[in-house]
Symmetry: C2
Subunit: 434 residues, 2 copies
Amino acid sequence: MIMRIARTTDSDFEALYQRITQRGRVFDEDLWKVVEKIVDDVARKGDEALFDYTQRLDGYALTAETVAVSGKELEEAASRVEASDLAIMRQAAQRIEAFHRHQIAENWTVSDEPGIILGQRIVPLERVGIYAPGGLASYPSTVLMAAVPAKIAGVGEIILVNPSRGGQIHPLIAATAKLCGISRIFKIGGAQAVAALAYGTETIPRVDKIVGPGNAYVAAAKKMVFGQVSIDMIAGPSEILIIADQTAQPAFVAADLLSQAEHDEMASAVLVTPDEVLAREVSVELKRQLERLPRRTIAERSLEAFGAILVTDNLEGAVTVANRFAPEHLELIVEDPWKLLEGIKHAGAVFLGHYTPEAIGDYIAGPNHVLPTGGTARFSSALGVYDFVKRISVVCFSRDVLEDYGPKAARFARLEGLDAHGNSISLRLAGKNS
Amino acid sequence: MIMRIARTTDSDFEALYQRITQRGRVFDEDLWKVVEKIVDDVARKGDEALFDYTQRLDGYALTAETVAVSGKELEEAASRVEASDLAIMRQAAQRIEAFHRHQIAENWTVSDEPGIILGQRIVPLERVGIYAPGGLASYPSTVLMAAVPAKIAGVGEIILVNPSRGGQIHPLIAATAKLCGISRIFKIGGAQAVAALAYGTETIPRVDKIVGPGNAYVAAAKKMVFGQVSIDMIAGPSEILIIADQTAQPAFVAADLLSQAEHDEMASAVLVTPDEVLAREVSVELKRQLERLPRRTIAERSLEAFGAILVTDNLEGAVTVANRFAPEHLELIVEDPWKLLEGIKHAGAVFLGHYTPEAIGDYIAGPNHVLPTGGTARFSSALGVYDFVKRISVVCFSRDVLEDYGPKAARFARLEGLDAHGNSISLRLAGKNS
């Protein structure tokens, strides 16, 4: 049996819960120090440090002339993507755009009293940096998920950084960037890329926000530069929690757990069900499906360390468990998923019914796949258009209403020990210019 | 002359700009280490460390029995506030509520194709902690600015922490808390209070988000626990930038600059004007008004270190300077402020015209006074209802649409090297349950 079948009443459930939700959260002081040095060096020395770290850590040489992907490089790399694949990416981009258009917020102005105008203006960020992870695979879907909402928000300029292997941009990344109209791409990655975006160097422009997932170094660097720039979130390893009842197909449930577990050894996959028969059947299915999986070793390790099948007394109990985990991905493979959804308080994205595997949401359904992990869905949301705008408050008072409210504001200020605040009001009310 | 009159073309303008925008941004390694120890101790030892630090740093003894403000304490303290002051606070709360109600976002569901349902649910945070700074003065207005939007959002429970002097809650804080219906108040402050809220102790419940300004220790602690909980922002010293033209009254402008400068010695007040005559008149007015100010020393030091009067060629040039500073507070004391507003890209809150001193916005106008400082208005916004909710994406596919989109998602996954993703789709399409 790959995953133990447990109950939330088991004496070691708390330890299991902590292990799963705290994974990847361990503060590694050594890593922090390494990242601190990188960030500090790049902030102070700019390109020199950036190129030096790229050579040392990623193993390829960069110069001010080669750090940016040229138009020719972009075209050549993109042209290597098959037309049929490009069509899929284009359709994905269209669906992502259609979904995210619903997130556009509008300026508003109100006048609740004669002489008072209040409002809120929505203004796009000027420049945003997207971190697209590199390494063994490339993740063009992440470029779509970050760039499409940024474009809808009206961001002035989108910068893409990607630790291209050997300094060559990956065809899929090139194709997606072209699709999104991103023309400034830099062949950098890791903590040094985050630092370059946050502080700017001779070749890399400083951005206002850095978005996109990355490894532990990237996550630490993002936390470090937070405040200097905005960041989307500190991403941890991926996870799924599935609530299933007796109507669920064990094979479907097992396949979905595995689609998460194959991501990496730190990924987590949890099934919560009131049906003990299903629990056992899924356990058997997991074993069967694992055998045919190319990324079997990774999936197996992930399931063993951070997987669980939990049996609850009823569906309400399963919802309680799900809310406690606050999972990144939540599937409701039950008879009436919409009814169950009412009770869900904490999750990044919810996938309803028997025919909505999480994989469809990762790519083409429309919602964003950059989601809060490690229980942070308690307080944060999927990447969205709202991440690429800020709001400016607007206030305009006439002399008449200042006469009414001014003395009250002045009194309030005096209660807080601030007298000059009062002067700025009394002077106006005594003014000759009235 | 208190403030030098400068031009952006002056050779030392860049240094002035850096001094003003980077103030309070200096990373103090010693302070960081002290805060790290406090946060770590409270996270590990709970109440014991929390009470110990309160005794050592704030100078009063706490126990599990006395850390919370009792109902009796709350009533007694609140009853000491004059009825007329309470009426002002109540009216401020009502106006703040009216403004923030416009920020409520609604759930939405769309079906853009038969068989596909997509949506976004807005869910309030479960538990939020408000940090109300203590020290010499008390800031009941901050309690209003944080609690009112949290209540509108539907936050389950609001916890208030306040480093009450000598362990006695300040009457104004008590009255505002009562007004906002906050009943759980703890007499703690500093980095130890932030840590207690982030990790929970035996007496202090763990929250999902910590909001509200504080000193450098509080700011460092908030940055440190970011990720474990959500935080609103890392607040720096307050600031104002005023754009004024020849229609402005020098006395009004000077009074507004001083209302900011009196906050603390790190505050910044900058006037930008194309009118050299106004520049000189404001300079004279500043000196005159300063003499009558109770907090004169503070205001003077602030103006000398972080104040400036900048003369530009025209109003467009003034707008460019303002956008570069991205000030927390921006006043447009000009003939046509609405026209000028169109060009404003970066500011926390904008105050338009001759009769909207920033002081009115601090207390009673309606918009939030918890605003981004130190140039962070480039990428962040006033505290608002949106800070107290998160969004959950919803996806539901039918078998028929999975047949269309599923293979595309599977292909996309395979391009990224993920095979089990494809299995979760192909299994469903081959399934007997179709």
